[in-house]
Amino acid sequence: MDFVGKRFWFFIISLLVITPGIIFLILAPGLNPGIDFTGGSSMTLRFSNDSNINQEQVRDQLFALSYEEATVQNLGENSFFVRTRELDEVAKDALVTNITSSLDEGAENVLQGFDLVSPIVAQETVMNAFWAIIAAAIGIFIYIWWAFRNVPSPLRYGLAAIVALIHDTIIVIGIFAILGELMNMEVNTMFLIALLTVIGYSVNDTIVVFDKIRENVLIHSNRAFPEIVNLSISETISRSLNTSFTLLITLVALILFGGATIREFLFVLLIGVAAGTYSSVAIASQVLVSWDQKSIGIPFRNRTVT
């Protein structure tokens, strides 16, 4: 199969996936940041099994308690995720007691979880997250540069891996901007961990293809570079697909049967694994080729057919 010759189409597909996300990101409100990034309180309320309370009732009750800013998300199984401004102990108790007595009289243990993040911590989290991602990218770049020191222009491999990594990150963030708008999905610390995991996975996957290129460049030194890349992709494609397939099976199982608590986290991984697999074939390797052909700006001039 000719992968390298289709690189123009790969870039177009990526652009098509990325663009809507970017539009949602730029248009207000963009990502829907959770309390980890804004500060405030959030809690999980679980009412009794036969209570039949809906999201609207919880929201109205919060409104009546003058928590106009509160957001409510139905987690299923009579559980709700409620986000409010920063609550102290007294306010928290009052809120829970009030909601319980007016919506589900006599229910016990309604407050299942409570989180509080002060604005200082939230601000630090944002900064730390930013630096963590930059640091991860630099660390990985340097490692790949070093690991590929035996092939011509190792720097390119490092940079191409970073391009793929940024590509995957933008896809995940973009999709979350859309989901934040449509489904009120929030971005929190777990989202960041997931993003870093995606970065790790994306690079892991890219390296497998690059490793094959590294090997083939040395074996077939008389062949043209695009041809070598194409051969390497062909030789690794079934491994790439199988690996992401097994990972996707595990993730889907976790999403379906695991608790609601880490569902968003797993969702990020799901998108990220798909994007990571795609990008190692369609972005990282193709960037190498385009760079080699000096055709980054005009990717289809030097169309190569092997």
């Binding site: 989180d115 690991a147 595990t250």
Partner: protein, 605 residues
Amino acid sequence: MRRNARALITIALIITICAGIVGFQKISIGAFNRGGDTPLGLSLGLDLQGGSHLVYEANLVDPTTGEKQEISKDQMQSLSHTIDRRINSSGLGEPIIQILGEDRLLVQLPGIRDPGRAKALIGETARLEFRHRTLNAPPQPIESIKPENIKSIKIDELREDGKIFSELDEKDKDDQTQELTSFPAVIVEFDETGSNNFETLFLNLSLSLEKAATEAAAGNFGSPADQIHITIDGDEELRFSTLANSIRKIGDTPRFGIAFPSDDTGMDGNIAVEDAKKKLGNNPEIEFAIKKGFFDEDIGLSGDDLKSAYAGQHQASGVPIVNIEFDDRGTRIFGELTTDIFAKQEETGVRDQIAILLDGQELISPVVNSPITAGTAVIQGGDFTMTRVKDLALLLESGRLPVPIELIQERDVDAILGADSLRKSVAAGFIGLGLVLIFMTLYYRVPGVVASVALIIYAVIVLAIFKIIPVTLTLSGVAAAILSIGMAVDANILIFERMKDELRAGRTMLSAINIGFNRAWPAIRDGNVSTLITCAILYWFSDQLGATIVQGFAVTLVIGVAISMFSAIVVSRTLMRVVALSPLSRKINLFTPTGAGNITNRESV
């Protein structure tokens, strides 16, 4: 073959050990203790067992300028000690306290029922007081027991098991084997109120005695225990004081027996039953009073008057000591206090003490060797170790300069939610693992079965390592563990794909396996190293914040990645070699993936 046999034995040994570690609920070898009542004895994080995760920031503001002050390491240490002590003594459970960065404190309260109360305790500012402790205070009448609460008073022999000798049946009386001693005692019968109140009194006396005994056992300057002081106004007056250990409740009756002290120190000690009965007469009246073992007087000396407290060693003898230094006001009050105590000592021989209390709890109560008017003093103790004096100094410091703290992050998880998450993630993990094994076997056939076995071995080793270190398993850790299964699968897939290439090139099974493993290694290594780099960065990132969720994820992933490399390179390879030497290896179709049976020349891609 011999090499394979050796490798197989090593693997079998590792599996047996790991399975043993996972299988036994509790492991304890000497001081090494692992496991517990949790599933498989793994240590669970707050999100899986329920509990509170609190991050506090210390805000030390200069009282005069209003500027934020730097907080020293010692201050953070003492803050952590204070919180630890408060929560531990409240019976709310054992906190895990960690200092984060310069001025933050992470307090984790696993399985706590009442986070509100714990938070109130943590938020209190420390209160350090120095009090004048007078030993053996005069008796104070007990108001709660009135004459009308008392129904009868008599004298009898009280046996130490709480039975009255004259009420015993003959058999019991003659039974010498019991070796129970009897003492002359006053037996008082109360009405219900009286009985209840006396029981409370009895309990308090017992507590005080217990405390004094512990102090004495620890070799502290202990203070004497409280005593009950009894005055019986009969034909003659009968007076004595005694400790809780001479009081017995008599069966289920509202009666209590109080034995006469056996020594001569109590005023009417060593009295015989007949004499006591004579003194009691026909119409006795009894009065109870409590004789406190000590009495603390507030002299207005507090932590505010302390200039510093630090651990050190005595210049001459080198024994560990605590140095304390007072400011001007403190020096004056402390000078007066020590002068008074010393003067009383010289005059009457009674040694009063200085009680040092933190949050109403006694830290230490030293005696005075000489008047101290210079404002600097040292505290010595027979049992003082360097650790003890450091702790003491830190506690004194925490009361000297109470550091106000502010709650900046909180995460509470109810135990029910935690258990629910645990159950669901474990179920999901099994389902996921099962699906992967099925896929691997169906697609890769024999190598797939080998990989599946290797994966199960991998899972057992990972669990064993989690238990031994121990790694606290959090929800994100479970996610990481499952992700690392993916990594382990990936390593296997890489190897099999390479092996397949070699088989296609016409190599023999054994050499295809060897070359396949060698060729796959650089990709596995580089891929895993990049994951490890990400983990290291995640760890650093979480360390800044005390984000235990992130940390748990990173640690779990590192272990998972490391073991996955081992499982792919060592376990899968050895098993594959063994399979290759078996008759199975002749059926090449069993070693190539479904649909790839027709081996083609790769040049025709």
